[in-house]
C-alpha cells in the first residue's frame, strides 16, 4: 500500500508543503514540522482514497474544532480536481498550487486571501466613532481630586490622567489553595521528599523535618461589561481598567455586551493599549446601543460558562441593570451564572447616587443573585474594589440582604 517511491513522494511532498503554506496563510498554526508529519501520515495511510487522504491531513493539520471549517474549504479548493490523486499515483504530477484561485463557492475570506496570494485581506471597515480619542493636551490633575471625580464629569485632560492611573491598577483577588504543595517552613504538613534528602545530607544521623503547605493561586477572573448607551462613558473608561487587569496576570477573560456578547480577551491581551483598543473597536459593533442583558447572559451561559468558569472563577458584572427587554429572562440566567462561579460581584455606576433605589425591572431581576454590589464611577471606587476583592466575605452578607429587602 505504501506505493510512494522517493521520486514521486517528492512531488506529493511538494504539494503537501504548498497546501501547508496555504493553511498557514489562512491562519492555522502550520510549521515545517507539521508538513513533515503530514507527509509521513499520507505515506502511512497510502493514497488509496480521497477520504483517507483528507482525514490523514486533517489529523495532522487541524488541532482545534474551529479550524475544521477552514481546513475543509482549503482542502476542497486546493485539491479540487478529484482526479488529482489518481494522477499523482500515475506519477504525472502537475503543480496545482498555482491554479487554486477563483473558487466558485463562497469561501471564508481568510482562505480566499491565503490562496489568492499576498493580497491585502479584507477591505478595511469604515472607521467607527468608537475609537477612543486622546486629547493631545496633557495636564495633571491632583490625584485626590481626580479620585473622587465622576468619570462622566471629567474633562478630557482628567480622563487622560485617570486612564494613566488605571493602567497601573491591579486587582489582588484573594487567593485560593490548590492541590499542589510548596516548601514552607511554617507549613502544616511534612514534606517527606525534602526531608529524606536533607536527612541524607547529614548522613542519616538526624532527620530534620521540613514542612510544606498548599500552594496558593488566584482564581480566574471573568469581566462581563455592559457597553450600551447608558453605560457609554463608564464602559469606555473601564476598558482601560480591563486592559490593565488582563495584562497583569493569566486567566482573565473579558466579554463586552450590548445587544450581543463579544469575547474581547484576545484583543485586550495586546500589551499596547492603543492597539488593544483599536482591535476592540474594530470587532465590537454594538457600542452605545441598547442592552439585552437576558439574551447576552444566555449566550454566555451556553457557550462560555463551561469553558471559562472552571477552577473557582470570580465574575465582575459591570452594568447599570437598565435592560431593553425589561428584565425578561435575566433572573433565570443570573441564577445560573451565580451557580457556576465562586463569587459574583456586580459593579453599578448608578450607585454613585446616594438615593439610588433598586426599583427598575432589570435591577430587581439581577440583585437576588449577586454576592456583592458596588459602585464603579470614579477612581476611588475602583481602588475600593481592589480592597473588596481581597477580603474574604461570606456569599450572603448583611449588606446584600439589605439591598434585596429594598429591591423587594
Amino acid at each position: 500500500m505504501n506505493a510512494i517511491s522517493p521520486a514521486d513522494g517528492g512531488l506529493i511532498a511538494a504539494n503537501i508543503m504548498h497546501f501547508g503554506r496555504a493553511l498557514r496563510a489562512a491562519g492555522l498554526p502550520v510549521g515545517p514540522g507539521r508538513v513533515l508529519d503530514a507527509i509521513h501520515a499520507v505515506q502511512t495511510t497510502g493514497l488509496k482514497s480521497r477520504q483517507d487522504f483528507y482525514w490523514s491531513l486533517h489529523a495532522v493539520f487541524v488541532s482545534r474544532r474551529d479550524e475544521r471549517e477552514l481546513f475543509d474549504q482549503a482542502f476542497h479548493v486546493f485539491w479540487r480536481n478529484p482526479k488529482i490523486l489518481e494522477r499523482m499515483m500515475s506519477l504525472v504530477l502537475p503543480s496545482i498550487s498555482n491554479e487554486a484561485a477563483a473558487p466558485e463557492e463562497t469561501l471564508s475570506p481568510r482562505v480566499a486571501a491565503a490562496l489568492a496570494g499576498n493580497e491585502a485581506p479584507q477591505s478595511e471597515e469604515q472607521e467607527k466613532d468608537t475609537e477612543v480619542i486622546f486629547d493631545a493636551a496633557m495636564s495633571w490633575s491632583r490625584t485626590e481630586v481626580l479620585g473622587e471625580k465622576d468619570f462622566e464629569k471629567m474633562t478630557n485632560e482628567e480622563v487622560e490622567a485617570a486612564r494613566r492611573a488605571m493602567r497601573h491598577m491591579r486587582l489582588p483577588i484573594e487567593t485560593v489553595s490548590t492541590r499542589r504543595f510548596q516548601r514552607d517552613p511554617k507549613g502544616p504538613t511534612v514534606d517527606m521528599r525534602a526531608t529524606m534528602r536533607a536527612a541524607l545530607r547529614d548522613g542519616g544521623d538526624t532527620i530534620p523535618l521540613l514542612k510544606r503547605d498548599r500552594r496558593q493561586r488566584r482564581p480566574p477572573l471573568i469581566v462581563l461589561c455592559d457597553i450600551s448607551g447608558s453605560m457609554d462613558r463608564y464602559s469606555r473608561m473601564l476598558t482601560h481598567f480591563m486592559h490593565a487587569v488582563t495584562n497583569d496576570r493569566d486567566r482573565v477573560h473579558t466579554f463586552l455586551f450590548g445587544t450581543h456578547l463579544t469575547n474581547v480577551t484576545r484583543y485586550l491581551r495586546n500589551k499596547d493599549i492603543d492597539i488593544a483598543l483599536e482591535k476592540v473597536a474594530e470587532n465590537v459593533n454594538d457600542w452605545s446601543g441598547g442592552t439585552r442583558i437576558g439574551t447576552c447572559l444566555h449566550d454566555f451561559n451556553k457557550h462560555w460558562s463551561r469553558r471559562v468558569l472552571g477552577q473557582g472563577a470570580v465574575i465582575l458584572f459591570i452594568s447599570d441593570g437598565l435592560d431593553r427587554d425589561a428584565g425578561d429572562g435575566v433572573a433565570k440566567e443570573m441564577r445560573r451564572l451565580q451557580g457556576s462561579c465562586r463569587r459574583l460581584i456586580w459593579l453599578n455606576p448608578l450607585l454613585r447616587y446616594d438615593r439610588f433605589e433598586p426599583k427598575s425591572l432589570g435591577v430587581k431581576a439581577i440583585l437576588p443573585f449577586v454576592d456583592d454590589f458596588r459602585p464603579v464611577h470614579n477612581l476611588n471606587s475602583l481602588t475600593e474594589l481592589a480592597d473588596a476583592l481581597n477580603r474574604t466575605g461570606p456569599r450572603d452578607s448583611a449588606e446584600m440582604a439589605e439591598w434585596r429587602r429594598r429591591a423587594a
Binding site: M1, P29, G33, R34, H40, A41, T44, T45, G46, Q51, D52, Y54, W55, S56, H58, A59, V60, V62, S63, R64, R65, R68, T178, R179, R180, F181, M192, R193, T195, M196, A199, L200, R201, G203, G204, D205, I207, N301, K302, R306, R307, V308, G310, Q311, K332, R336
Partner: protein, 304 residues
C-alpha cells in the same frame, strides 16, 4: 495482538470491540497507532471518547492504564512518588550497621526499589503483551503546568526523575488523550498528537450503535428513540444528549417494557436523557409531544 495494518483493519478492530466508528476516526486512529503518536480526541461529553481507549485495550489485549485528570493533579499522583516509609527503614538499618558512607546510602535510597509508580511511569514499563494503552482522560480538567509536564512524556516517551535520571520506554505506549474542551489545550501539546473531533453520530450511525449497545430494545422503539434524540440536538438546550444518554434511555425504556414511545413515558424518563432542570422543563409536556409527532411522521414517511 498485533497492531492493525491499514485503515480497514483499524475499522474492523473497532467493530470487533463493538465500537461503531466513522472511517475518519479509523484513519486518525490508524495513523496514531502506526506512527506511534498520541491521539487527541475532543468532543462533547458522552460521545464515546473514553470508550475508544477501552475498546483498544480489549481488542488488542493490552493493559489499560487510566489517568483521570483533575485540577491540581501533580507528579506524585500521576507519575511517581518515593516510598518514604521504606526509605526511613533503610536509613535506620544503615545507621544500625554503621558502616555505610553517605554517597552509597543516597544512591541506595533513591533507587527504583523505593519508587512507587503511578500510571504515567507504569506506561513506560515493558510488558509481555506489548506496550499498554495509556488513557489520559479529560485533560482539560487539569491546569497548564501539568500539560507542560506531559510534553516530555508525549514527544519522547520518557520521564526524568531528578534522583535517578531519565527513564525511557523501549516501546512507546498507545496514548489516547481526551478533552471535553472546557478550555483550550495548548498548541505545543496538540502538535505532538493526531487530532480528531468526535461529533454526535448521524441517525444511521446512532441506530447501529443502539443495535449493538442496547440489543434488547425493540427495533421500532430504537428508531423512535434515535429520531427523538436527533431532533433534540437541533434544539437550543444547555446540554445536548450524547450517545451515552441515548443508550441509557433505550435501556431505561426497555426495562419499562415499552414497545413504542408515548408522551407519558417520555416525561417519566426524560431525566436519563437531559441532565439540567431547565432543559427538562423546556422539553417536558407539549414540546415532547410535538417532537414525538414529528418523529412518527418522519418514520411513517420513510416506511412508505
Amino acid at each position: 495482538m498485533d497492531l492493525p495494518q491499514s485503515v480497514e483493519d483499524t475499522h474492523a478492530l473497532l467493530a470487533r470491540g463493538n465500537y461503531v466508528a466513522d472511517r475518519s476516526l479509523a484513519t486518525a486512529l490508524y495513523l496514531s497507532l502506526s506512527l506511534k503518536r498520541p491521539l487527541f480526541l475532543e468532543g462533547e461529553a458522552g460521545v464515546g471518547k473514553t470508550e475508544i481507549a477501552k475498546v483498544l485495550s480489549e481488542t488488542l489485549g493490552r493493559r489499560l492504564l487510566r489517568l483521570q485528570c483533575y485540577e491540581g493533579l501533580d507528579a506524585s499522583s500521576a507519575v511517581y512518588e518515593w516510598n518514604y516509609a521504606l526509605q526511613m527503614v533503610e536509613i535506620r538499618m544503615a545507621e544500625a550497621v554503621g558502616d555505610r558512607d553517605r554517597a552509597a546510602l543516597e544512591g541506595d535510597i533513591f533507587s527504583r526499589k523505593f519508587l512507587i509508580e503511578r500510571p504515567l511511569l507504569q506506561a513506560l514499563e515493558p510488558s509481555a503483551s506489548g506496550p499498554p494503552v495509556l488513557l489520559i482522560d479529560e485533560l482539560d480538567r487539569t491546569d497548564e503546568p501539568f500539560e507542560a509536564y506531559l510534553l516530555e512524556l508525549l514527544s519522547d516517551f520518557q520521564i526524568t526523575i531528578p534522583e535517578i535520571g531519565t527513564i525511557a520506554a523501549d516501546e512507546p505506549p498507545l496514548v489516547i488523550i481526551t478533552s471535553n474542551r472546557t478550555r483550550e489545550i495548548h498548541d505545543a501539546l496538540k502538535r505532538r498528537c493526531f487530532y480528531y473531533w468526535v461529533d454526535y453520530p448521524n441517525a444511521d450511525r446512532e441506530m447501529e450503535i443502539l443495535a449493538i449497545k442496547a440489543p434488547n430494545a425493540p427495533a421500532d422503539l430504537s428508531r423512535q428513540i434515535v429520531g427523538f434524540v436527533q431532533n433534540l440536538r437541533d434544539i437550543d438546550l444547555f446540554k445536548l444528549p450524547g450517545v451515552a444518554e441515548t443508550i441509557d434511555w433505550a435501556e431505561a425504556l426497555t426495562q419499562l417494557d415499552k414497545l413504542t414511545l408515548d408522551p407519558e413515558s417520555i416525561n417519566d424518563t426524560l431525566g436519563t436523557l437531559l441532565k439540567y432542570q431547565d432543559d427538562i422543563a423546556k422539553i417536558q409536556g407539549s414540546e415532547a409531544s410535538r417532537i414525538l409527532n414529528e418523529v412518527n411522521a418522519e418514520l411513517a414517511g420513510a416506511a412508505e
